[in-house]
């Protein structure tokens, strides 16, 4: 089995109106090269499910998005994602705003083929008032009311990992997997970009297999792109690009995303992009953040 595709081939599986889950967390291990490919496509009306960062901001700014399912959209060191903020304040997108944990439960419900998972999360808050589609239900076992967090069924999940083989065995060696395994399982089609394409034998050595967090049957396509998480981080390989994020955010003052697209995305290859940001060696030299 060979699941290796180019970014363009992989992203061609995405159609107008699909629900797309995006792995990573804020500015960390986002499949940004796949996002750039999506920006180059003419796909539109997407519903995004994401622990959001610039992935959500860019797709909103480029007019690709109909709806965002989110708990936050943030770059952490820049707390407010300016392009997402504009989209919200201009009411150009619909939203389903939920608790961080509710998102995980929704993905797990989808993965486990359940219509919902009962939870306390969200009770007594505007999450329930603002989302009439999220039902409160009785329990057969007690007299309390429960939030029925609906399954977040994904058409496609986009993830970035450290390494993968051509059969879709994926390795994340960074300290946190985030919810990537849940995204992979919640999706019909899971597209994974990787910093390194390795032979299957790579996983046979030592403890390497312990860093594989889902089985290959959950991986549909493998897209080798070294540095493909840039400008987000892929710990331990590289940190996030503070200077690039600052430039990206500063451009939001003009309220026109074209300047960013023209400089970094439109009509450009990933190689062009990497040259424009200083080259792959510079990406790999980006320091890891200290918390």
């Amino acid at each position: 089995m060979d699941k290796v595709l180019s970014a363009r081939q992989a992203v061609a599986q995405i159609e107008d109106g699909m629900t797309i889950g995006i792995g990573g967390w804020g500015p960390r291990r986002k499949p940004m090269a796949l996002i750039r490919e999506l920006l180059r496509s003419d796909v539109k009306d997407l519903t995004l499910v994401s622990y959001g960062g610039a992935d959500v901001g860019m797709l909103c700014a480029a007019g690709k998005v109909k709806k965002v399912v989110f708990a936050f959209v943030s770059l952490d060191f820049i707390p407010l994602e300016p392009w997402f903020r504009q989209a919200r304040q201009q009411a150009s997108i619909e939203v389903m705003e939920i608790d961080e944990g509710m998102m995980l439960l929704g993905l797990r419900a989808a993965a486990w083929k359940l219509p919902f998972i009962p939870t306390r999360l969200g009770l007594g808050t505007d999450v329930i008032r603002n989302n009439p589609d999220i039902a409160l239900v009785d329990s057969p076992y007690d007299d309390k009311e429960w939030v029925a967090m609906p399954a977040l069924n994904l058409d496609v999940a986009l993830l970035h990992v450290d390494r993968a083989d051509k059969r879709g065995v994926c390795q994340v060696k960074g300290p946190d997997l985030y919810m990537d395994d849940a995204f992979a399982r919640a999706a019909q089609t899971t597209i994974v970009s990787c910093d390194e394409l390795v032979d299957t034998e790579y996983f046979h050595a030592g403890e390497e297999a312990r860093y594989v967090h889902w089985e290959r049957s959950e991986t549909t396509s493998v897209v080798p792109i070294a540095g493909g998480a840039h400008p987000s981080s892929c710990s331990p390989l590289y940190g996030f690009d503070v200077a690039h994020f600052k430039e990206y955010c500063a451009l939001a003052k003009e309220q026109d995303f074209t300047a960013y697209l023209d400089k970094y995305v439109s009509g450009k290859t990933e190689q062009d992009y990497q040259q424009a940001v200083g080259g792959l060696d510079a990406i790999k030299a980006l320091p890891l953040p200290v918390y």
Binding site: F72, L121, V290
Partner: protein, 270 residues
């Protein structure tokens, strides 16, 4: 002319006052969001509540807290277990956690907002962070609030623009729940320390920072608070506590957290 006590800053006073929120908490995950709350949890863990658990704010549980400044990339830390975000959720939902958070708005019910200001849900006037983990945190475990600038903009007259966390609001109480099921502990501001133990969980003044009056607190709060007959001054940091704080923050980032880095004892500032 200032003859105020130069021994400690307001930030340091707030750190040790906030550390008290974690006293006798035992084995719970103490999460301080922001530099001063993180220092508060660290001080508690390094002095009177050694059983507390803290993470490196990333993916590892620590046996002793990391310094908040002066650390180098890759520097060794006292990590004792993996604690990625998915496991944080397991901890949150099990309830063995006490978070200290800094809401943008807090209302008379103890409901809090970090999501958005003004406008409508469909079109907020100002989009902020989103509800993040506030809904789940507030229904699952203890929470305290840290407010760097006590004002009517934070302590709002009406309900929060977006109710991100459940509070002591009878109208929003879920079926099968009691108000006492909600666990909001201390509110530490630049003026005072408060809790929610007034009548019907009314916000109640616990201590005033030196030089601050009850009138100042009430004037800067958008709703009526419970003011006991006797209100003590917030305890000053001890020399030992200041030593712990300095060791945890060698670069003195705490001096940049409050506007103009005020002194802690404002009784005689002219």
């Amino acid at each position: 002319m200032s003859t105020s006590n130069p021994e400690y800053s307001l930030a340091e006073l707030m750190i040790v006052a906030a550390a008290e929120a974690f006293r006798d908490n035992g084995e719970v995950l103490a999460t301080g969001i922001g530099l001063l709350p993180r220092l508060a949890a660290s001080v508690a863990m390094q002095s009177f509540t050694p059983d507390l658990m803290m993470t490196d704010s990333q993916a590892w549980m620590l046996s002793e807290p990391n310094a908040v400044s002066g650390r180098q990339p890759g520097q060794a830390q006292a990590q004792e277990s993996w604690m990625g975000f998915a496991r944080i959720f397991d901890n949150v939902w099990g309830g063995k956690r006490h978070a200290m958070v800094g809401p943008t708005q807090i209302d008379r019910f103890g409901q809090a907002n970090i999501s958005a200001l003004g406008g409508t849900h469909q079109q907020p006037k100002v989009q902020m962070l989103g509800v993040r983990g506030f809904p789940g945190n507030s229904i699952c475990h203890a929470n305290s609030f840290f407010v760097p600038e006590h004002s009517r903009r934070v302590f709002v007259q009406g309900e929060c623009d977006v109710v991100c966390s459940i509070g002591y609001n009878p109208e929003r109480l879920p079926r099968g729940y009691q108000l006492d099921d909600i666990d909001i502990r201390l509110v530490i501001t630049d003026l005072c320390v408060m809790d929610w133990q007034g009548p019907q969980h009314q916000l109640r003044l616990r201590s005033l920072h030196p030089g601050i009056s009850t009138e100042q607190v009430q004037e800067n709060t958008g709703f009526e608070i419970c003011i006991p007959d006797q209100v003590e001054n917030t305890a000053a940091p001890t020399a030992a506590q200041l030593d712990i704080i300095r060791a945890l923050d060698p670069a003195n980032l705490r001096a940049r957290q409050l506007r103009d880095n005020p002194v802690g004892d404002r009784r005689q500032v002219c």
